[in-house]
């Protein structure tokens, strides 16, 4: 898959599944996240019936890492540009990736068919999230002795040298009135033991009650790691219910 350039930055993009199937865009969480959060879990399950579009957000995974420029509007603009050629899509986001998805839905409601939030919350105003409490990724948990001889800095450690966390805390979430005005269906999956549960439910409360459903699954903040099976069932069922019929034709 070729890298794609947006806003002058190089982005790592991958797709899974039949390109003619209904599109699903997956947005990973920040710091320890990358498309790998989805790639070996929820993405191949959804790819059975969908065209799954994955990308590494700026600064993450194999995408370019600018020193600054991590405010919500920039992250959402990246998503909008990268998915410009996809038809109306479901957008799935983990943690802050869900906030990016919501901002994208506010900016481009005609391009977002539905939204799935996986333990998403807005960290602005709150103390900096404990990085160690975020989704574990293979390699990130390497013992100190291993890390000491790493061929290069751990990606998460390197990312902390950017303005990312400061930008996230400085940027307000999407405007409450904008969120209340969303008309597409939204699924909020919440980790029963998530340390951010209050914040996650506070974000869900901003969404229109007649369009938003909240489901609690066993696990913590990294639901895709803690409850991969139940999460896959929940999201697959939701997309089947609210999306176009599998194998259906696009609207003219």
């Amino acid at each position: 898959m070729p890298d794609v350039t947006a806003d002058g930055l190089r982005f790592h993009v991958q797709t899974l599944g039949d390109p003619s199937a209904p599109p699903v865009v997956m947005v990973h969480g920040m710091v320890t996240g990358s498309m790998a959060s989805w790639y070996f879990g929820l993405a191949p399950v959804l790819a059975r019936h969908h065209h799954v579009f994955l990308y590494d957000q700026r600064g993450h995974g194999r995408s370019e890492r600018p020193a600054s420029g991590y405010r919500l509007d920039r992250l959402a603009a990246d998503l909008a540009v990268l998915t410009e050629d996809l038809g109306p899509s479901a957008v799935v986001g983990h943690s802050y990736g869900g906030v990016v998805a919501l901002r994208h839905a506010v900016d481009h409601p005609d391009r977002v068919r539905s939204v799935v939030l996986v333990d998403s919350f807005v960290p602005s105003g709150a103390p900096a999230p404990e990085v160690g409490g975020w989704a574990p990724v293979p390699g990130a948990a390497a013992p100190a002795a291993v890390r000491a001889r790493r061929r290069r800095p751990n990606a998460e450690e390197a990312l902390l040298g950017t303005t990312l966390l400061a930008d996230l805390r400085r940027t307000p979430g999407p405007d409450a009135a904008d969120l209340a005005g969303l008309r597409m269906p939204v699924l909020c999956a919440v980790g029963a033991d998530s340390p951010f549960r209050e914040e996650v439910e506070a974000l869900a409360d901003l969404l229109p009650a007649d369009r938003c459903r909240v489901r609690v699954l066993p696990g913590g903040h990294a639901l895709h790691v803690d409850s991969p099976g139940p999460l896959a069932d929940l999201v697959s069922g939701f997309l089947a219910e609210v999306g176009e019929p599998v194998g259906g034709t696009r609207r003219a």
Partner: protein
């Protein structure tokens, strides 16, 4: 490169040939200069001994797909694993998995 007679890239199905192929892919991902310092064997743990991060597993999946096509469903195979199993994954398990898909 292995010493086997290779009739074509996709025909190499012996463990030695697949190990050489996978080792080459890992070298492309982490940089050949690092590969020189590493002894890649069937027992090498991919996350710890070779220090591959999760996003580099995606790169490995892409290379396997480019090389072997849909015969090797590496993504589905990894997706069915628990996190601990992925963290403990050895080169040998990948090699024998590829071999089982090709034979």
């Amino acid at each position: 490169m292995s010493g086997d007679t290779m009739q074509g890239a996709t025909d190499a199905v012996t463990q030695e040939a697949i190990l050489a192929t996978v080792t080459g892919m890992i070298g492309e991902i982490i940089g050949e200069e690092y590969l020189d310092d590493l002894d890649v064997t069937m027992d090498s743990v991919i996350t710890e001994d070779l220090e591959l991060e999760s996003i580099e597993f995606v790169a490995l999946a892409e290379k396997l797909r480019d090389r072997y096509g849909e015969r090797v469903e590496f993504v589905d195979w990894i997706a069915a694993m628990e996190l601990e199993e992925i963290i403990g994954l050895t080169v040998g398990r990948v090699v024998t998995f590829v071999e089982s898909c090709l034979t």
